[in-house]
Symmetry: C2
Subunit: 353 residues, 2 copies
């Protein structure tokens, strides 16, 4: 087996989740989980448990939010949030490829004000000085940018509803989640396997646009059917539930945040110390604790480095083509040992180089 999966997503999940998921494929209360009805008592319980765990991790119980587990991916949310919320204009922060895609979709539904963008510097930092007009329908941003390895550390202070794509760092750290009005996240980083998307939305922000909304794109329709308007992606939701349960059983977000800080500390310390490497992100405060992007200062070391990490059982370390170099994705289920192994490989390269 490959021991250390640094894939940017879909990505590593806890081994015990894989075991439970495999068991359920063979036998889940006398049937395979792949053949049970989504209307069965057993699956309704899975859905309720998944919703309850999401609320618990985010601290959003009894605060007027609803949780949905939909198919379609976060890319569908680029469209859905605008369809449901954009009446006149919306503000977007452009911090990467996914922001740009979200902006593109939103423009079909109203005016989009790009409050700031780091595009001209290939998204190597998060723009800081910008203001969000008080008359927009909402302000949209991503908390973490997998491709470029940047992460928003603080929740911006604005007076309009906040709509946020947390696909790549949800459940990895504490945030003031109750400052957000709509949070969405594709499952395939810290929540579960590909095929499910979490939407947590404050009900009071819905129902304010004048356009009619197709049923499958209408948050209110999904809420009215408790996330069962149509057949939901049963197995991806089940595995997401298992993964959220694993997080809870081990100590929740405060536990994982400490581990994630430790992993990020290890890798960034080595990137800064090791004379062969340099980080991609210019402002260290913007460095992502989920995805560390870095390059070799001298490409001549590439073959040797690639051989070393592959020999060490590391997988998925190549950077995205927009950045090049390397990307160490360190989602919740990636062990400290994995990062320590990567660091020792980087040190070995230095010794040999």
């Amino acid at each position: 087996m490959l021991k250390y999966n640094f894939s940017a997503g879909p990505c590593v999940l806890p081994q015990e989740v894989f075991k439970k998921a495999a068991d359920a494929v063979l036998d889940f209360n006398d049937l395979s989980i792949l053949e049970i009805s989504h209307r069965s008592k057993d699956f309704v319980q899975v859905m309720e448990q998944a919703q309850s765990l999401a609320f618990e991790h985010l601290g959003l119980q009894d605060k007027g939010y609803k949780a949905l587990f939909l198919g379609g991916g976060a890319s569908m949310q680029f469209l859905m949030c605008a369809y449901n919320l954009l009446e006149n204009k919306a503000a977007y922060l452009n911090t990467g490829t996914w922001s740009a895609k979200a902006i593109k979709e939103a423009k079909m539904f109203g005016e989009v004000i790009e409050v700031a963008s780091s595009k001209d510097s290939n998204y190597n930092h998060i723009p800081k000085s910008y203001s969000v007009p008080s008359d927009v329908d909402y302000f949209h941003f991503q908390t973490n940018n997998t491709i470029f390895g940047t992460q928003l550390q603080e929740t911006p202070s604005v007076e309009v509803p906040i709509v946020c794509d947390m696909s790549s760092d949800i459940f990895s750290r504490q945030r003031d989640f109750d400052k957000y009005d709509l949070i969405y996240a594709g499952a395939q980083k810290n929540m579960g396997p590909a095929g499910a998307t979490l939407v947590v939305v404050k009900e009071e922000i819905l129902g304010k646009v004048s356009r009619s909304i197709p049923s499958m794109l209408d948050y209110k329709v999904h809420i009215s059917k408790d996330s069962m308007f149509n057949t939901p992606p049963v197995f991806p939701i089940y595995v997401s539930m298992l993964t959220m349960q694993w997080l809870k059983d081990n100590g929740g977000i405060s536990w994982i945040e400490e581990l994630n800080n430790k992993k990020a500390g290890l890798i960034y310390n080595e990137i800064d110390r090791n004379p062969l490497f340099e980080g991609f992100v210019t402002d260290k405060a913007d460095r992502s604790k989920m995805n560390a992007t870095f390059v070799l200062k001298d490409e001549a070391h590439k073959d040797a480095f690639d051989q070393l990490w592959k020999d060490a059982g590391i997988n998925g370390l190549n950077g995205h083509r927009s950045v090049g170099g390397y990307r160490a994705s360190m989602y919740n289920a990636l062990s400290v040992e994995a990062v320590e192994t990567l660091v020792s490989v980087m040190q070995e390269l230095e010794r040999k180089g």
Copy 2:
């Protein structure tokens, strides 16, 4: 274990598919299939294999079609087909709950001509005498209606493009698939588990509407990225591929059609013979080979019958609330033995009654 799963969907799949799927969750070329990148060589191969098997089963290779595996369910296709194809007006045949839902979504995009409907008789037959105007953008219908147990036996002869929801009988029987311009099907009957949707579309019918289409709803966008515009539902697609492979390995659609005819023959023969039961569908020619709907003539036998089939290891036999009574869903992976068991339970009730 429950031995005979008659669920209407998600539903029984082949046991060997469950075994292979469980194995892949634990180890798929040295990683779990739940943690592999959708851009990995291994998954690209799964996607290509799934597309190739779909074409092979439908006999649509090299005929100008593209195959997509999307998230979101067939309900999303109610919306997408209209978004992509409905410029002025479209014709719809109303044969059940799902037809009505498809019509509702289509009306947001243009004029909908309901060419015929069996709604007034609670959809207990398929309307026969209707004509489809030659100036509509397309003609839409469902081949099989799970809730009511009706099935279209012949492909209607029309001069406009045919858009068809085959969710509940795809890969169960031969049809003139090349008469169809767009076929879609939620996976969770004969194709795989919930969470993936197959769309097979003739490319030449696309790109003719004047509206702009959001990326995630645009067939052309998905085609341009070979069904990888966004992260696809990796595991549901993998299990769909396994299920289509199982069908091929055993003899393909001609093999399964014979078995499905046999199963349908067994149950309908008993419904007609047994004085305690009667079928729901009025025109026997419209009876579905996937879902046999029937009721007890005398509700007094209900408790005894329910006890008998549950004791026999049968699951999922209750009818949909719109019809009541019973529904025996006999998808591809349901064994002849399962139907024989149900028939003997019906005969036992007759003896005891």
